[in-house]
């Protein structure tokens, strides 16, 4: 009797799964069309635009000062930075100088905002890794203290509308600086506590180290910025490369990662929080007196021309390209949205990994849909 060998071929074919737009862990309304082969991601196509509100068109019908609340709604987790970037662009366009005290105030507020935004980013990244809600809740507790500080200054907790062209809208109340000093004193202790639990956590390392690597050349080529770029080994920080406001007076380091994976992005954000505290300590010490807003007409009419004003926001390089035709409203208002551009490499970072890793990679880029869709 002859024996026959038969090859049994199991037919598998990839299938397409939609993640989102309403999904508990896509931060905001974001849809990913993934082609899966079993558990492995073969291809991924991001689809967004669900939060598109036409801010760029709306800004063309508002005066320069009326646009500031619109900028709040771009990256709503770091509104102060949006306001600041826009005011920098208008000041560049119209050649308006900013008084000393206003510059210091801007730096203090921007760095506080950076800490608040990174707390949110890191907390939700850890939530995506599966540490159920504990790190998020601890970090949101600290973020609440920063939001209380902002409440003290401008009466708002999320969309502040605090910066103005030529300065800020109002001065600090007397109890603000002591409250900030108290916060700066306690925050390093809290950061150390989070680090103790998480930095060397075996499971976090297993989930995030080596996952979602963004190589250095690809990061530069796709125009990544912020912690995503720095974690890939490129020491490019607008505060050092093209200092705006008075950042050249402060001493601080720029944390740079080595591998460009999710773990490095997480570490870069935590270290940036520490550096922000360092800047805050120096800024509070040197805060001068004076007025907080230079004399600027109610309806600003910049001369015809264009300007590109940018700053280092918590998510990357936030820039505003403004074109003026001499009237009271901008002719063209374009936002260089860092998270929109960082998303370009998302499919590259996810290819070859599993579904569970996709969420982690996505969380580590730290997007805010208000800015992606505008």
């Amino acid at each position: 009797m002859t024996t026959q060998t038969r090859e049994v071929v199991v037919n598998t074919e990839p299938f397409v799964v939609n993640f989102g737009p309403a999904h508990p862990s896509t931060h905001g309304v974001f849809r990913m069309r993934m082609t899966l082969d079993g558990e492995v991601i073969v291809d991924m196509e991001p689809v967004f635009g669900y939060l598109h509100r036409g801010i760029e068109k709306l800004a063309e019908e508002r005066t320069y000062t009326q646009v500031i609340p619109l900028t709040d709604r771009l990256d709503y987790l770091a509104s102060m930075n949006n306001n600041l970037a826009y005011c920098l662009a208008v000041e560049k366009l119209a050649g308006i100088a900013v008084p000393e005290r206003a510059e210091y105030i801007r730096v203090i507020i921007a760095e506080l905002q950076r800490i608040a935004s990174h707390l949110c980013a890191v907390g939700f990244f850890l939530n995506d890794c599966g540490a159920f809600m504990t790190p998020v809740l601890y970090m949101l507790r600290e973020r609440e203290r920063i939001l209380d500080l902002f409440d003290m200054v401008c009466g708002q907790r999320l969309t502040y509308n605090y910066m103005r062209v030529g300065g800020v809208s109002q001065d600090f109340p007397d109890e603000f600086i002591p409250a900030v000093a108290k916060f700066i004193g306690e925050m390093p202790g809290w950061l150390d506590e989070y680090e103790r639990l998480l930095k060397e956590n075996e499971i976090l390392l297993a989930r995030a180290k080596g996952v979602g690597i963004l190589p250095r050349d690809l990061a530069i080529n796709i125009g990544a910025s912020g912690p995503v770029l720095r974690a890939s080994g490129v020491p490019w920080d607008i505060r050092k490369a093209d200092p705006y406001s008075i950042y050249d007076r402060f001493e601080f380091d720029v944390p740079v990662g080595l591998a460009g994976d999710c773990y490095d992005r997480y570490r870069v954000r935590v270290e940036e929080m520490r550096q922000s505290l360092r800047i805050l300590r120096q800024a509070i010490k040197d805060l001068p007196g004076g007025e907080v807003r230079s004399q600027v007409p109610h309806l600003i009419r910049p001369p015809a021309g264009e300007a590109y004003g940018h700053l280092e926001g918590p998510r990357g390089e936030l820039g505003f390209y403004l074109v003026s035709d001499g009237s009271i409203a901008p002719y063209r208002f374009h936002v260089r949205a860092p998270t929109f551009i960082n998303l370009t490499a998302l499919s590259d970072m996810m290819r070859g990994w599993k579904v569970a890793d996709a969420i982690i990679v996505f969380g580590s880029i730290d997007i805010c849909m208000g800015e992606v869709d505008r």
Binding site: G49, H52, K57, G223, D242, Y308, R332
Partner: protein, 146 residues
């Protein structure tokens, strides 16, 4: 500080390589002809000394006679920047060559300009609408839309 290169300095270098491609060289920006955009961009990216490896932003503007696309280029290595512009005068079917093959940043940004202003970028691998849904008619950022 990032040194903003003047358009006039760059013109000299480019005119030698690609004569006749520069339409206007201003102090802050450099306007090249639409057809020459790909070559000039490649030259700016690959020439040592210029090394514009980082495309910061691509913006489109609708000046009623023409459309203008503005490229903000930066060199991380040398820390200098340049503003490159290109115009297209065709109102019905504006088109420009795409720079996606040089800087992948332009992938989403050119799609957005196509979506909101209607400028097509030849050579773009996936020129679909990005912010609005696929069946939308019209291009909202144009000055004559609403």
């Amino acid at each position: 500080m990032t040194l903003a290169l003047s358009g006039k300095d760059i013109t000299k270098k480019i005119e030698k390589k690609f004569p006749g491609c520069v339409a206007e060289a201003a102090a802050e920006s450099l306007l090249v002809k639409g057809e020459a955009l790909s070559e000039v961009a490649a030259y700016l990216k690959n020439t040592p000394g210029l090394d514009f490896d980082y495309l910061t932003a691509v913006s489109g503007v609708d000046y009623l006679d023409y459309f203008e696309v503005v490229y903000h280029l930066t060199s991380i290595k040398h820390n200098h920047s340049l503003v490159l512009k290109a115009r297209c005068y065709n109102r019905e079917n504006p088109a420009l060559p795409s720079v996606v093959s040089l800087w992948r940043t332009a992938d989403f940004q050119e799609r957005e300009i196509y979506d909101l202003l209607g400028i097509s970028f030849t050579g773009h691998p996936n020129l679909k609408r990005i912010a609005l849904w696929d069946g939308f008619e019209g291009h909202p950022l144009r000055k004559d839309f609403l």
